[in-house]
Every structure is written in structure tokens, then in C-alpha cells.
């Protein structure tokens, strides 16, 4: 799979990630999937309900996921993935990410430091493991 993420949406994610630093931030990717391409049409923020360990864990508010799903369906889109940040850590899935991941969604991770986002990579479960999917501008 390949992810198409426009420059404007990418910029929005990078701004949110930077504003949220050093806390982990999260949200949803809305779009369409077809012909091996995940096309991201919009991005939304969600609350991280893990306030005790917001520096290295996230739990996406299910109410926000429900709201994003409704928003997507009203625009003939789908929730196609999750985005979250890794403050001062690489943009690759951790064991915690792996343990709680779902098939069929993209997992976009932004590595963010005090100066801003350093890397943005997307991953998808293939069997028991994550594989990277290329991210290209749409």
C-alpha cells in the first residue's frame, strides 16, 4: 500500500504534533482506500485520554473516533487510519503500538522534538508485524 497525503494536511499534522510536544498526540485519518492506495482526504485531532502517561502513551478517546467516523461517512469517506506522535523517539511502531494495533488501518507516526517534526512514516499490519507504506504527496 502507498499513502497519499497532501502537503496542506501534512503541514497540519506537523503543526499539531509540534504544538502538542512533549505530550503524545493522536487523531484520525479520513479518506478512501482503493487500488493499493490510501488516499487521505482529511485529518482530525482526538483527545489522548491517557493523562497519567501522556509523555509516552496514548489512548484515543473512543467518542472522538465515533465522531470522526460520522464525519467521514457524511462526506462519503472512511476512517482509514490513526496518526500519533512519538516525542523524541523514532517514527516507527513500538511494541506497545504493535500490541494494540488493528488490521486494515494505516498507522501514521510523527517523530517530534522541541524544534518540530523530524520524520513522518506510515505503517500497516501484515500478519503479526508492521510493514512500512510509502507516503507521497497527493
Amino acid at each position: 500500500m502507498v499513502m497519499e497525503l497532501g502537503v496542506t494536511l501534512r503541514g497540519r499534522l506537523e503543526r499539531w504534533a509540534h504544538e502538542g510536544y512533549p505530550r503524545e498526540c493522536c487523531g484520525l485519518l479520513l479518506g478512501r482506500v482503493g487500488d493499493g492506495v490510501v488516499h487521505v482526504a482529511d485529518v482530525v485531532q482526538a483527545r489522548n485520554t491517557n493523562t497519567e502517561r501522556a509523555g509516552d502513551r496514548f489512548e484515543l478517546d473512543p467518542q472522538d473516533l465515533l465522531r470522526a467516523d460520522e464525519q467521514a461517512r457524511s462526506r462519503a469517506l472512511e476512517v482509514v487510519g490513526i496518526w500519533h506522535t512519538h516525542p523524541d523517539h523514532p517514527a516507527r511502531p513500538s511494541a506497545t503500538d504493535r500490541a494494540q494495533a488493528w488490521d486494515g488501518w494505516s498507522y501514521l507516526i510523527l517523530s517530534v522534538g522541541a524544534q518540530g517534526v523530524q520524520a513522518l512514516r506510515s505503517w500497516r499490519l501484515a500478519g503479526a508485524d508492521f510493514v512500512e507504506e510509502a507516503v507521497r504527496p497527493s
Binding site: D56, P62, Q63, L65, D69, H89, W102
Partner: protein, 94 residues
């Protein structure tokens, strides 16, 4: 019995032949999920544990209300209710 719609998240659509919504006739959330499971093999095991209760990493909403804050799987359904299966999403850098 009420006519309700179950919304299927993308991670579970492999069990529903890609369908994002499944219509059911049911009086409660438990009956709705059972009807879903009868129509689409394998999906129920992802939502309910061996004890027949909701798995910890799955939420079910009726409208905008999480059934955990209502009567759980015994939550009654009315005509046109939308039952949304919402995976719990979590992770972290370590």
C-alpha cells in the same frame, strides 16, 4: 424487535465482505451482535470474549452513547438505532 443498523469499522470489514453497515432486527445490543455474527462468520469473536461479554479493546455505541454507560449488551434498541462498533485505539512510544 427493532430494525437497527450496525456500523462496521474498517478493521472488521474482512468479515463482512467489505460492508460498512449491516442491517439487523434485534431487541437488544446483544441480539444485534448475535445477528451480525450469524450473518458474518468470525466477526463476533473479535467483539465478544469467550465469556460472551465485550472485549476490553472494543467499544459499542448506540447513537452517541457507549453501551458501557448504559445497560451494556442488554441495552435495548429502537427502530432506526445505529449501533457502532468502535475499536479501542491505543499505543505509545514505549
Amino acid at each position: 424487535m427493532s430494525r437497527a443498523t450496525i456500523r462496521i469499522p474498517m478493521p472488521l470489514r474482512g468479515y463482512t465482505q467489505g460492508a460498512g453497515e449491516v442491517p439487523v432486527e434485534a431487541g437488544t445490543v446483544r441480539e444485534a451482535l448475535a445477528a451480525l455474527g450469524a450473518a458474518h462468520a468470525g466477526v463476533l469473536e473479535r467483539v465478544l470474549g469467550p465469556d460472551g461479554e465485550l472485549r476490553p479493546f472494543v467499544n459499542v455505541f448506540v447513537g452517541s452513547r457507549n453501551v458501557r454507560s448504559l445497560d451494556g449488551l442488554a441495552t435495548p434498541l429502537a427502530d432506526s438505532d445505529v449501533v457502532a462498533i468502535v475499536p479501542a485505539v491505543a499505543g505509545g512510544l514505549r
